[in-house]
């Protein structure tokens, strides 16, 4: 399966906010209520279609625990996009955003697109962080913002795809040097023989471009 570009993403945020579940929902379209703690880094990949271009997303899912912070920090380099996730039912995960953002800004390329995600929007009754607070934080720090539910899949597609759109827009504006792999972008192999992409990724050359589904 050939692609025009490959974007590298990293998912960060406190432990238990649903990073691995977001990834699983996006790559496998399923939800696993009980998920093992991520103790290192895990990977996922999927093809998406932006503006008629096939784009491969390579996603790094990191450990949120404090004890793995120094390892996680070392993975920001070479990421074109970051999903910074908090849990709308646990305020402390929102309070820690500043420190995550500091890490991200310090260890990544300055053009990295950051998507702020308030996850677990299905748990409205236990909401602890208002949607407006998320929006305000995003506005203040120049981030894109969405609330998602890895459980119901609400806005999960959109979160990943909108991040890709923003990266793609920056490429077209010439803000990214696509020839420097340290920016987390690779130009696809020309007439690539389909050996390098696994079936799980190639099956889903999704045509869905983020629609504004107002489910959250």
């Amino acid at each position: 399966m050939t692609y025009a570009y490959l974007f590298k993403y990293i998912i960060i945020g406190d432990t238990g906010v649903g990073k691995s579940c977001l990834l699983l929902q996006f790559t496998d379209k399923r939800f696993q209520p009980v998920h093992d703690l991520t103790i290192g880094v895990e990977f996922g990949a999927r093809m998406v279609n932006i503006d008629g271009k096939q784009i491969k997303l390579q996603i790094w899912d990191t450990a949120g625990q404090e004890s793995f912070r120094s390892i996680t920090r070392s993975y920001y380099r070479g990421a074109a996009g970051a999903l910074l996730v908090y849990d709308i039912t646990r305020r402390e995960t929102f309070n820690h955003l500043t420190s995550w953002l500091e890490d991200a800004r310090q260890h990544s390329s300055s053009n990295m697109v950051i998507m702020l995600i308030g996850n677990k929007s299905d748990l409205e009754s236990r909401r602890d962080v208002k949607r407006e607070e998320g929006e305000a934080f995003a506005r203040e720090h120049g981030l894109i913002f969405m609330e998602t539910s890895a459980k119901t899949a609400c806005n999960v597609e959109e979160a990943f795809i909108n991040t890709a759109k923003e990266i793609y827009r920056k490429i077209q504006q010439g803000l990214f040097d696509v020839h420097n792999e340290a920016n987390g972008i690779k130009i696809g192999p020309q007439q690539c023989i389909s050996t390098s992409v696994g079936p799980s990724a190639s099956q889903r050359s999704s045509s869905e471009i983020g629609s504004n589904s107002g489910c959250c």
Binding site: S70, A182, S196
Partner: protein, 488 residues
């Protein structure tokens, strides 16, 4: 690197990461990131025998692929159908019952159909391509199983020393005097040969080969067979490069650590370091290499001298006396410089930079059958040996705690961390982990890889005290020994 240089032949096995990591093609692609260098660990859903921990990281760009490989499994060693047995005259019940340990034989007969399980860990560090390392990681265990199959019945019968000659009575003396003579022999030859009460002289001059030496021999043979298979199959497959090999086998309560190359195994027991291997490099094997070149000078193709000098000899120094050493020396002496001494030295460079014929920095391993000195027809292989050094560790002799471990790692770790630093890291890390956490040894392995890789700063990968981190592939096993004691 890369491992796809110029050959039209198919790969013997596709490139991948160790099978036990269970990575998809996409994950393998992600792992090959030379910029962020992700540390791969055993997934939460996967378990290795003995709760073994494992972590690895790719190099900083010296080759496209991670050229380290690993495999870990439980092998079942069963007597081959139709194999020669150690018990002579199996059909003669009369003779069998006349042996002193008839009871043991009965037991043995019953157990014979069951195999012996054998734990196996392996680590390979490839060079000049990943082919040989991938092949060895898939096939060496089969050679080991095959070698052990031939001797498994002898090994199980631990009460009787291995017979010197299969199909023969262990001794020619009458059966009932056997225990006595053995006892006598243990007292190191009490009784003069030829005196009426002593058995024939031949008994005293026969070497007693303990069981573990048969296992050592089996492992040595397996390495050789593996190397021969690579040599044979390279006419039909593209098996690029060569690799070092470090393996551990746990069989009948003992650990056998076999090493060919510059990977390293150490045991950390109660904070104490017990080295379980030594490295084979141009420096440590200088005398063997020099001797081979001295005996077979044609191997040097008239381009190299087998003598070692403290530095390159210059033409203007002809006739002067300079320090040198030959294969028979560990010290140095002076010799008059001749024309031949101006040739490039067989071994040149110091430490990690030492090379055989300016080509290779390890002197034992598998593969490399086509490796030649650059721009010449001089083969390196005759100087490389596939023979491992095997060390034995008797697990039953110690009561191991949860923090007593065997560490296996490729040179990526040991180039930047000393045994002491590794032991210190382990003894800091493990006691802070829940002893029941199934991931604790994998987390310890991840911690070691992180300490050796370091973090990328403006001036490259850096570890503690601003030292340079390892830009090499790094692979680490942390094997808890407490599980060895749990085996019966």
């Amino acid at each position: 690197g890369g491992g796809c240089g110029g050959s039209d032949l198919p790969l013997r096995f596709p490139y991948g990461r160790p099978e036990f990591l269970g990575l998809s093609q996409d994950e393998v692609e992600c792992s090959a990131d030379h910029i962020a260098r992700p540390i791969l660990i055993l997934k939460e859903t996967r378990r290795l025998p003995w709760a073994t921990g494992y972590a690895e990281v790719i190099n900083a760009g010296k080759s496209t692929h991670n050229e380290d490989q690993a495999s870990c499994e439980v092998l079942t060693v069963k007597k081959k159908a139709g194999a020669i047995t150690s018990t002579p005259n199996r059909n003669s019940t009369k003779r069998r019952s006349s042996l002193p340990n008839g009871e043991g034989l009965q037991l043995k007969e019953n157990a014979e159909s069951e195999g012996v399980s054998c734990h196996y860990w392996s680590l390979f560090d490839g060079h000049a391509g990943s082919g040989a390392a991938v092949v060895a990681s898939r096939l060496l265990q089969h050679h080991i199983t095959e070698q052990l199959q031939d001797i498994v019945e002898i090994l199980k019968n631990s009460a009787v020393l291995p017979p010197t000659c299969l199909g023969e009575e262990p001794e020619t003396t009458p059966a009932n005097s056997r225990t006595l003579t053995r006892a006598a022999s243990l007292r190191s030859g009490v009784g003069a040969p030829g005196s009426p009460s002593t058995p024939p002289t031949r008994f005293f001059t026969e070497k007693k080969i303990p069981h573990e030496c048969l296992v050592i021999g089996a492992l040595e043979s397996a390495f050789k067979e593996m190397d021969l298979q690579i040599e044979r199959e390279r006419s039909s497959y593209n098996i690029s490069g060569g690799c070092t090999a470090l393996i551990v086998v746990c069989l009948l309560g003992k650990l056998y650590v076999a090493n060919a190359g510059d990977s390293r195994a150490i045991i950390i027991r109660n904070g104490e370091i017990i080295p379980m291997s030594s490295e084979f490099t141009p420096e440590t094997e200088r005398q063997r290499l020099q001797y081979l070149a001295f005996m077979q000078p044609h191997l040097l193709g008239n381009e190299f001298t087998h003598l070692e000098f403290p530095r390159r000899v210059q033409r203007k120094e002809l006739g002067k006396k300079m320090l040198y050493r030959d294969f028979n020396m560990t010290g140095w002496a002076y010799k008059t410089i001749e024309d031949d001494d101006l040739k490039f030295p067989l071994i040149y460079g110091e430490g990690k930079k030492a090379r055989v014929m300016a080509t290779i920095g390890v002197t034992r391993g598998l593969g490399d059958h086509d490796l030649k000195v650059h721009d010449s027809n001089i083969y390196i292989k005759p100087f490389l040996s596939s023979a491992p050094e095997v060390r034995v560790y008797d697990l039953s002799k110690y009561e191991h705690g949860a923090d007593d471990v065997l560490i296996l790692a490729t040179d990526g770790l040991w180039d930047v961390l000393s045994n002491e630093e590794v032991a210190e890291a382990i003894t800091q890390f493990l006691p802070n982990c829940d002893p029941d956490d199934p991931h604790r040894y994998t987390l310890a392995a991840q911690d070691l890889v992180m300490r050796a890789r370091g973090v990328l700063k403006d001036r490259g990968w850096r570890i503690s005290n601003d030292r340079l981190g390892s830009g090499d592939d790094i692979s680490v096993y942390v094997i808890p020994l407490i599980h060895g004691n749990k085996l019966s």
